[in-house]
Every structure is written in structure tokens, then in C-alpha cells.
Symmetry: C2
DNA sequence: CGCAGGGATGTAATCGATTCCATGAACGAA
DNA sequence: TTCGTTCATGGAATCGATTACATCCCTGCG
């Protein structure tokens, strides 16, 4: 593969001049520029990004460590991240942690070894020593979707509180009183927050959230199946299962179907994270939709701001409820039936 | 960030010695090795992969250019590719072409600039000049899923012919006679092959494949919707729509539903590529499943063989039909009804 | 006419590793 | 004792770029 020296020789100039025209430095004569460009063309020369990075100490590459590539939510996120990065002149390297802290660390380390300019992470856990060191060590870093409390890193995420409240209102309006949740790992912010938001919303309606109705999942389909099974084995099974992500909802659907039961007739189902497939499932699944594309773009902008020395901004966007049929027939247009009882409302 | 010089200074040895212990070269005294290791530990030193790559002319990185990250098929493929690569000591950088040849070229170029050791591609088109040059230029390269005819590059793919024949048998057995296909881009091998296989299988049953029943899609959901719409507008619409990939099947489902029609009652649907969601759609979709995981692993092995100087192997695996409910009630266990008429059969 | 200033260009240092080659020490054989 | 090996180590070249600095030439002004 041709190097800058070959180009210099071909054009009859020094490597410095070649480098100057490549980086369009002003003081190059029109003549020299033309000869260099011709040589570049003739040799099919492409600058070696490795060598350039070594010298300039920047790779114009961003690392993105996501929790699970098989999850359409993260895949959508990855896509918008790559698009925005490309628009800003950066490439992105994706690492898939598969919800395993070890794998996550592996990818962070490998990305750091490659000297990426900045890191976008959606942590699978509460923060390994490596992650903490990296954050403190001055590597530009932004958390997206999930974050680690107590670490001074900008966070770009969606707030599902209001949407969860809307969901509970919807369920209450439909007459459901026994609501259960398939939670994500407590070590992740999204894992614990969604349970909290759910609990608070239930409280507004005077509804309890017994421990038996909190199932511990890990954001992957199999755990949704398992937890839903234990729910269904209960003496008094819940009327609704709320899965804290789309994959666990899929598992829940499997578990219900495996028993020959129907959604929403025998049990209702709702999910956090909306994805195109939910329109086509049987029945279409009521879900809380995050503004995934905007999340990815905002995260990249924050990270690039950091890299280029501008102050980065944490961003919180709102999620919203998308009602479909998995919880029963949609509520009547008048929303009065969904109002919480007055007494409980005032105590919240 | 600490460099090898810092480690050398800390350990009181030369950089050469540090490099030797890092690459466990045999002739280093136990004493020196211990001191270097201690220094590495103390400084939290990690070798700069950029510098190392420049010197050794290898990055231990594979490039993977896929046609569409939002397609679960490719996402599953990407995952298995990354796993196998990791097992063999390589990282992978994924580029998403989004079915656009320009974007595909952009990623290939960017990967080449980064001096990846080898390239895995699932081409979106018949081969840009860049792609052809790259293949000829000696960069280790393997095609996966789709390939470009006439280019001397190993191919790892699934052969769907037999499964398509099984599908047609299934449809014929169910009494369907007017079968249509939503094809992929003719420039892709999977686009044209699936149509051909379908046409041949129909011929075995004496069924025609009129032009009006061949819709031109682009492997993305929206095209499935559009094509299905034109099918439904026909004076004599088909009884079955076979989508050449899962995303177009999704679009077809949308189109059918938008008209208030039901699958399979009003029209039957089948898809190429099976994905977990098809179990949960309404109705569950009959599909042709590829051994995606094995495909990804075989592709990586072939590519690494090439990189490391061993002769690479093209691999073709079989796809298989998974019958669900989207084409009508499953055929009776006795498969006799699905036999093609004798006369036609002998001509095939 | 002489000199300052600025534009075009080249030489060489540099980034952080790997690796060839030279050197010196230790040791066994003659 | 001396010589030839072998082992451990360090010095320095090298990979392919970028860039500080030096040089040379031209132009314009006093």
C-alpha cells in the first residue's frame, strides 16, 4: 500500500508538502498542490489512519458500549449514534456487553487501548473499578440510557416517570388492581428506577406492590419467561405484568402462551421500550416509548462537545405511553375513570 | 497515559526489555521480568494499540459491513461474528450500510484506512469499483450471506433452495395456487436467488409466477408495505405473499392490517429469515430459518484463515422451513397432499 | 540598493511501540 | 588460560504520518 513517501516521490516534492496539501494548509503553491493531487490519484493513495493517530493523538473514533445488541432498543440507539457521529466526522466502534459486566470491561479496555477519543456507555452494572477509573481518568465519557450514580459524567437519558404514571392510570382505569413488575437488575439505574416509578404510581392509586409481585429479571428474554412463570404459579396471580424492557416482555408473552393462556383475557401485559414489532404481536403490546433517536444524537453531541473542549450537557427527555391492546380494550376517550381516588392523591 | 518509556524508567531497564516481557520473549531474566511487571502494575500501563499496529502492520481487528443493523437477522449475525472473533483474539468494527451502496463504500474505505486485518461483507449491491479493487487488492475478505458473482472471494452463506421448495409444497398442500413474492434488490444475490428458487419450485407444481406477482422491494419494511399494497390492488390479488426477508414481511403485515384484512384468512404470508418475534406476531409467521450463528462463526474462521495464511474455505449451509400459522392451518401429518402432480414432477 | 517580511518548501524530530544488531558477562570445553 | 557459545540487555532504526524550524526566494518600501 502506497505511503506518503511514495506520493512525495511521484510528485517530486517532500513529504511535508504532501502532508500540507492533504490537510489543506494554506501555504502550498497551486502547482505543487496539483502535482500532489495527481500523484495521490495515480497511486490510489489513502493516508494511514494508524500512523496519523499516533502522531496527532486522536483517532476521530468514538466507542459505544451497549448492553445487548439483540435488543432492538439498543440497536436503534446504535444506529442514531453512528449517524450523528458520522455527521460530525467521527466513526464509532460498538462493543456488545451482553449484560455481562466482564464483557463490558473487556470492551472498555479494548476501546481504551485503541485510544478512542471518547466513550459512550450504557452500563450493565453499578460500575466496575475500571469504569470508575476511566471516568475519573479524564477520558471523555458520556452515559446514555443507564448511568452510574455518584460519577461525574454527563448523562443522556429518558425519564419514564410520567409515562409509568400514565400507564398505571390506564391500567387502573381498565379495572386492574393486582399489578406485577418484571424488574431489571437492581444494579442498573433503569432497573431500579422503573420499579420505583411503578411503586410510586401504584401508591397514588392506593395500590400495594407486594414483594411477590416484583420479579427479578436481567433484561433478557429468558428471565421474563421465568419470572412470569413464578407469577402465574402464585395462589393469587397478578392481573397485569409490566416488563421493564421489551425482551423480558417477549419472554413473558412466551410464558403466558406456553400455558395456553391469552393476553389480555387471562392476563394483561405492558412493556417499557417500544419497538416496531409490538404493533404486530398478538395482541399488539402497550408500551412506553423512548425518544431513542434523539437520545443517541444528544449523547453524541455531548460527547463530542467534551472531546473538543466545550462544556457537555446532560439531557433528560420524556418517554411516553403508547396504548395498544395488551391490557384490555382501550379506555373510553373520557379519562375520568382513570383518576386516582382523591384521598390517596393528596398524600402523594 | 503512561508509555513504554515510563515503564522502562520505573523498572530501571530499557524499552526493549519492557517490550520483551510484554510479548513474552524467552530471553529475559526472571529478575527483570518481575521488575517490569511491577512497574506495569504500578503505573497502570496499557500498551498503545495504535503504536503497536503501526510497527507490526497488523491491528488484530476485523471489519464487518452489514446491510442493515435494524434487521434482526444481521444483528444476530453480527453477534456471532463478534463472539467467534473474540475467541480467536480479534476485535470487530461494524459498519452499517443501511442498504445504501454509498454508505457501504464509505464504511469499506474507513475500515481500510484503519488498516483492519480483514473484511467481512454482505454486499448491498453488485459491487462498486472500490469493492472490486479491494477484493483484487489482496485485502483478506470474505462474503457472508450475500456475495458478488465473478469475484474471487470465499463465500459463507445459506442455501435456501430446498427450504423454498418445502415452503411451496406446504402452500400448495394448503390449497394456495396464486403465490406472489416481494423480492429483494436484483443486484443482491439473495435478492435474485430467492426469486429464482421460488419460481423453480412453483414450476414443479405447474404454477406460474406472473410478473404482476413479483414485487420489487429493497429488504426494508416500507417496501414490503408498498409492494403488498399493489398486490392487493390487483384485479386478482394473490392468495399468498412470500417476503424475501423479515423486514418486508413486517411491512406486508402492516399493509394487510391497514386494510382491515386478516392473515391468513384473507391472505397468507411467509417470510425468508426467521426471527424470535415471528413466534409472537398475530398470527405467528411461517418462515425459512437460516443457521445464522453458524454462518457468522464460519465466516470469521474463513477470514482468519486467510489472514493467517491458511487456505480459506467457502461454506454453504442449509436453511430450513419453520411452519407456523400465517399460511393457514398446518398441513395434516401425512404429507401426501403436498406432493407435486406427477407430470410436472418428472419434468423438473 | 539594501533589507525586512512573508510565502513556499525541505529537513528532521516526534508519537509509542517492535526488533535487528552489538555488547558484555558467564560458562564450558579444549 | 583462552576461545567459542549462549543468554540478557541496551542502542538505535523503523513504521507513516504531522509539524517546528530553517532556508531560500521574491516583493515592496525606505
Amino acid at each position: 500500500m502506497a505511503s506518503i513517501k511514495d506520493v512525495a516521490a511521484e510528485a517530486g516534492v517532500s513529504v511535508a508538502t504532501v502532508s500540507r496539501v492533504l490537510n489543506d494548509h494554506p501555504s502550498v503553491s497551486a502547482d505543487a498542490r496539483a502535482r500532489v493531487l495527481a500523484a495521490v490519484e495515480a497511486l490510489g493513495y489513502r493516508p494511514n489512519a494508524v500512523a496519523r493517530s499516533l502522531r496527532t493523538d486522536q483517532t476521530r473514533t468514538l466507542g459505544l458500549v451497549i448492553s445487548d445488541v439483540l435488543n432492538p432498543y439498543f440497536t436503534t440507539l446504535a444506529r442514531s449514534v453512528e449517524e450523528e457521529a458520522r455527521a460530525l466526522g467521527y466513526s464509532v466502534i460498538i462493543g456488545n456487553a451482553d449484560e455481562q459486566p466482564d464483557l463490558q470491561d473487556h470492551h472498555v479496555r479494548s476501546l481504551l487501548d485503541r485510544r478512542i477519543d471518547g466513550l459512550l456507555v450504557s452500563p450493565t452494572d453499578g460500575g466496575s473499578p475500571l469504569m470508575l477509573d476511566t471516568a475519573r481518568g479524564g477520558t471523555p465519557m458520556v452515559f446514555v440510557d443507564r448511568w452510574i450514580p455518584g460519577v461525574d459524567v454527563p448523562v443522556v437519558r429518558a425519564d419514564g416517570r410520567a409515562a409509568v404514571r400514565d400507564l398505571v392510570a390506564h391500567l387502573y382505569g381498565l379495572g386492574h388492581r393486582r399489578l406485577a413488575i418484571v424488574a431489571g437488575p437492581a444494579a442498573t439505574t433503569t432497573g431500579s428506577e422503573r420499579v420505583e416509578a411503578f411503586r410510586e404510581a401504584l401508591a397514588e392509586y392506593g395500590l400495594p406492590l407486594p414483594d411477590a409481585y416484583i420479579g427479578q429479571g436481567d433484561f433478557q428474554a429468558e428471565s421474563g419467561r421465568r419470572v412470569t412463570d413464578t407469577f402465574l404459579d402464585l395462589a393469587e396471580p397478578p392481573e397485569v405484568v409490566f416488563a421493564a424492557d421489551n425482551l423480558m416482555a417477549l419472554g413473558a408473552l412466551d410464558a403466558v402462551r406456553a400455558r395456553g393462556m391469552r393476553v389480555p383475557g387471562d392476563i394483561a401485559l405492558a412493556a417499557f421500550d417500544d419497538i416496531p414489532w409490538f404493533v404486530h404481536t398478538d395482541p399488539p403490546v402497550t408500551a412506553i416509548a423512548q425518544p431513542t433517536g434523539e437520545l443517541g444524537r444528544a449523547a453524541v453531541r455531548a460527547l463530542v462537545d467534551m472531546i473538543e473542549g466545550r462544556p457537555p450537557q446532560s439531557v433528560t427527555l420524556a418517554a411516553r405511553l403508547v396504548v395498544r391492546r395488551s391490557c384490555g380494550e382501550p379506555a373510553a376517550p373520557t379519562a375520568t375513570s382513570a383518576q386516582p381516588p382523591v384521598t390517596n392523591r393528596s398524600t402523594s
